[in-house]
């Protein structure tokens, strides 16, 4: 009798929550659809009643504006993708969110600043930019990798078999520590990267897309790094070891794989990618502080979830989709709905994307790849 009562009560609780979640899903989708429809109407006829319903002042976007937003979304997204790879790989192998990975990215950006500032001071930056670029990328990779590896050794390795939340909390502490260590060492002022040389930074027109040279460079470097990473993971012995460890640590070690070493390699590769991302971030936004890592870090994690955690192609695709969503959605959906000051809500859009993906498809758009023990 009592058991029966308990079960109906719990069922009722479940139903209420489910109804609420369904309501949220329907509400959000309705909002998105209404926004997009209103936007399309605006494009067709700006004086249409539906287009003017929520926001009489909206004028829509011209084709060039739209392309501009798309490009900026893509270039920002490719950076998210580069950082997201680190989250995704570590989650795939160890099954926890390395919250401090955003800080690894920040260390890369900071290293890039220090080096490029010195290069500019002795004139090398202008004379031989490409050499400088290669050098600062290498330095950023070195320091980011170093940070990631030390982090793994000191903070995460002793916690290998502890409950899932313990390493996550530790990584929050590590993130806090690195942020404030950098603050203490280099001061709170925002540091600005030197300007790119004119021949690189000027506007170009490619396939009718007006694109700033910096963004083009970001896209190219991101694509090259991704290709190298793909080669390492899919075609080399190390990569095969990494995939094996992600699948099952115990069996992998029985097959003669040094699990510890593979995990360090995973952290190192993730760190290197974050370092490259940091340099690109610095060159594009030209300003770095000790807090630079926080938001891109969380957004990169969002990208990893969007693409399916543990899935590397997914992480890159997730980054690009998140970047585009973040840059286009405010104008496309929020503006026609009559929300003022939409550009301030960019970050809120990114977090909403995270919630949406987890509500609709928790395994991400391209499917997650986790070992059986982490697939809870």
């Amino acid at each position: 009798m009592s058991a029966h009562a308990v079960s109906t009560k719990s069922a009722r609780g479940l139903v209420a929550v489910d109804r609420f979640l369904t309501f949220i899903r329907v509400f959000l989708v309705t909002m998105i659809v209404v926004g997009i429809l209103a936007f399309i109407w605006q494009q067709i006829d700006a004086d249409n009643v539906f287009a003017r319903w929520r926001n009489p002042n909206a004028r829509g976007l011209t084709g060039d504006q739209f392309k501009g937003l798309l490009i900026s979304g893509l270039s920002q997204g490719s950076m998210y993708g580069l950082i997201a790879l680190g989250y995704s790989m570590v989650y795939g192998v160890l099954g926890f969110i390395n919250f401090a990975h955003g800080e690894v990215f920040m260390v890369g950006a900071m290293t890039g600043f220090i080096a490029s500032d010195k290069f500019q001071a002795n004139g090398m930056w202008e004379q031989n930019f490409l050499l400088c670029l290669v050098l600062i990328v290498l330095m950023a990779i070195f320091f980011s990798t170093f940070t990631a590896v030390v982090m793994e050794r000191v903070a995460y390795r002793p916690l290998r078999n502890s409950p899932r939340l313990i390493p996550l909390i530790t990584s929050i502490g590590v993130s806090f520590f690195i942020q404030n260590l950098v603050l203490g060492l280099f001061g709170p002022a925002s540091k600005s990267y030197p300007r790119l040389p004119e021949w690189l930074a000027k506007q170009r027109s490619i396939l009718t897309f007006e694109i700033a040279g910096t963004r083009l460079m970001v896209l190219v470097v991101a694509a090259v790094s991704m290709a190298i990473l793909w080669y390492v993971v899919e075609r080399t012995k190390t990569g095969r070891a990494m995939r094996a460890v992600a699948e099952d640590k115990e069996i992998a070690s029985l097959m003669g794989i040094d699990v510890n070493r593979t995990i360090v390699t995973t952290f190192a590769i993730g760190g290197a990618m974050a370092g490259v991302g940091g340099i690109l971030w610095g060159l594009m936004f030209r300003s770095v502080t000790h807090m630079t890592g926080f938001l891109p870090g969380v957004k990169a994690f969002t990208s990893a979830v969007v693409g399916g955690i543990g899935n590397m192609g997914g992480a890159m695709a997730g980054g690009i989709s998140l970047g585009s969503a973040e840059s286009i959605a405010p104008m496309l959906i929020l503006e026609p709905l009559g929300v003022p000051g939409v550009s301030q809500l960019k970050d809120a859009v990114a977090f909403t994307v995270l919630v949406l993906v987890l509500l609709f498809k928790p395994s991400g758009l391209f499917g997650e790849r986790l070992s059986s023990e982490d697939r809870a």
Binding site: F176, Q179, F301, T352
Partner: protein, 602 residues
């Protein structure tokens, strides 16, 4: 069980040099990092013992002692007899400390020859003067190597000297340091109790203990530690072993003493100390709420600050005449009803989508919600309703009829906070052992098993969110009334993380632990914007919070004052192993079953 003797080194120089070198590098790295972060120079102004020792030097000097101690700790494996520690370990500590000191000497040479001020802000002549003690480089270099070596030796000698000596020295050192740190509190108290002579005797005019008082107080603490040796432990042991009525009686006495102390002490304290206590109380309230969500139910909510913000903004809008859109100018008490309602709704709305997620996804999504709420309050969109970045100002205090609680009178704020803390403590205490509390703990330990046992996990988790949200919103409401204004910048993610550190350092799932955590951390180091007793730490407290969080997770995840159940959970493997080692008389079947149990739990 057979016991193997540990290998005895043939001579004191037969060290594991790689290990020694590694610890030396760690020691040197820590020293250099400490110097370049700027802690020593910044804190050089605060004297511990007048003229002879400043907090700045203390931050440098403790490192070789600590590293020397850790480096010479003997790793004893299970079933191996420990080696008797002696001069061998002293050499380890000595060398480690000397290497550390050597690194400082190198830093000094570098400081003298290059100018790296550009990226490294603390690369300054000040640091050079600090390190050389204004006595030139040769002296400084030799002095640091010798000091490092001696301090490392001292650290290592802690393994060797008799227990009593160890106890007395550590008591004296920590007692003196904490007395000196508590200087402003003692100042304030002695003024309140008309005991100015005590203050004058103890502290020098420019701050710090005087030499005479150091000697006298040090001796007193030493004697005290000798007298109390073993008694404290016996007393707590006796209290733990008490049964039923007797224990209840003692608990009531203890409770009354603490309550009277909390009620009476603020009368004798000045404004600054009361302000400090009020801040501690506000964070204690938040920490108690988070303790329910994280400590009891095991839901890592990183966006806890959202509820704090909801409480603050609800109070602000409903009570302030300056609220931009809707200003009913209600009384605080009536506004509080709405605070509870809105906090409950927010708790449900944030809780519902995240409740089925994996623990770590839940953490990030709640973090996202925390950010979204802050961004919304700040945006132009909701600006007309909540004032955007300008916030809501001119919030009146709490009119109680006989008195008004507001920020200019921190003592009244403290009493108000105390009232809410009392409610929070009572609620958490009653909930802990209740059906709901046990359900939370079951969910924390294993959600699937809990569900199989018939616990409605969905509603239990939602309840955790709601209770936590309501407690946090009370804190937000008091904050609004105390400060008189709310801004979106008061509700950064930072706040959530600091509260998390408080809960974890104190002891997850334990009310007493959370109280200790907030007193020690918020009281001494300070909150995100609120200064603590050590105002010199203002710029470094976040660094220390991060370090503490990592350290606690690695070394003592159950916190300073652990909850018995939680620490059993965290150290399950060790418990099982101990049980297995002790039970070697049992027949083999039992052993196997215990071992299997251990393996499956992982």
């Amino acid at each position: 069980m057979s016991v193997i003797a540990a290998p005895v080194p043939s001579s004191i120089l037969d060290q594991d040099w790689r290990k020694v070198l590694r610890w030396g590098l760690i020691c040197g790295g820590a020293l250099i990092a400490m110097c370049l972060v700027g802690m020593p120079v910044e804190m050089d102004r605060r004297a511990i013992i007048e003229r002879y020792l400043s907090l700045g030097y203390l931050t440098v000097l403790f490192i070789p002692v600590l590293v020397g101690w850790v480096a010479s700790t003997q790793v004893v494996l299970e079933g191996v007899e420990a080696r008797k520690q002696g001069p061998f370990d002293l050499v380890t500590g000595f060398v480690v400390g000397a290497i550390g000191g050597g690194f400082l000497a190198l830093l000094m040479v570098a400081l003298d020859s290059w100018n790296l001020r550009d990226p490294l802000v603390n690369w300054s002549p000040k640091l050079f003067r600090f390190l050389t003690y204004e006595n030139g480089m040769g002296f400084g270099a030799v002095a640091w190597i010798v000091t490092g070596a001696v301090l490392g030796l001292v650290g290592a000698s802690f393994h060797i000297v008799p227990r009593t000596v160890r106890r007395v020295t550590s008591f004296v050192v920590f007692g003196l340091i904490s007395l000196s740190i508590l200087e402003s509190l003692i100042d304030d108290l002695s003024e309140g109790f008309r005991l100015e002579w005590l203050d004058e005797f103890m502290f020098a005019k420019k701050g710090g203990l005087t030499v005479t008082s150091t000697i006298v107080i040090g001796a007193a603490i030493g004697v005290l530690s000798l007298v109390t040796d073993g008694r404290m432990k016996a007393a707590t042991e006796r209290y733990r072993n008490m049964e039923g009525v007797e224990r209840q009686k003692t608990s009531i006495v203890l409770f009354v003493v603490i309550a009277v102390l909390c009620g009476v002490l603020p009368m004798f304290l000045g404004k600054i100390m009361n302000e400090l206590l009020a801040n501690v109380g506000l964070f204690l309230l938040l920490a108690l709420g988070l303790n329910i969500v994280v400590g009891l139910a095991g839901l890592l909510d990183l966006g806890y600050v959202a509820f704090f913000a909801v409480g603050g903004y609800t109070t602000a809008v409903l009570t302030s005449p300056n609220s931009p859109w809707f200003a009913p100018e209600l009384h605080f008490g009536i506004a509080l009803i709405f605070v509870v309602i809105f906090a409950t709704i927010t708790g449900l709305v944030i809780g519902a989508p995240v409740i089925r997620m994996r623990g770590d996804y839940l953490a990030i999504v709640t973090l996202g919600f925390g950010e979204i709420i802050r961004l919304l309050f700040m945006s132009d969109w909701l600006g007309p309703y909540f004032g955007g970045a300008q916030g809501v100002t001119n919030i009146p205090g709490v009119d109680l009829g006989f008195a008004t609680v507001k920020g200019t009178d921190p003592r009244s704020v403290f009493y108000l906070v105390l009232f809410f803390c009392a409610i929070a403590i009572y609620v958490s205490w009653r909930l802990q052992a209740s059906r709901l509390g046990r359900a939370w703990m079951a969910i924390r330990e294993d959600e699937q098993v809990a569900e199989a046992m018939g616990i409605n996990t969905v509603s239990a988790k939602l309840m955790a969110f709601v209770v936590g949200a309501v407690l946090a919103s009370f804190s937000g409401a008091v904050l609004a009334a105390k400060v008189g204004s709310v801004f979106p910048t008061s509700f950064m993610i930072l706040v959530s993380i600091i509260i998390l550190v408080v809960v974890i350092v104190g002891g997850m799932g334990n009310i007493a632990g959370v109280m200790v955590g907030s007193f020690v951390l918020i009281g001494v180091l300070g909150g995100p914007k609120q200064p603590g007793l050590l105002q010199e730490f203002q710029n470094f407290k976040l660094l220390i919070y991060g370090l503490l969080l990592v350290f606690m997770m690695l070394k003592r995840p159950e916190g300073l004052v652990p909850s018995a159940r939680r620490s059993r959970e965290l150290h399950q493997e060790e418990f099982l192993q101990d049980a297995w080692l002790q039970d070697d008389k049992l027949d083999s079947d039992d052993e196997v079953s215990v071992g299997d149990g251990g393996a499956e739990e992982q």
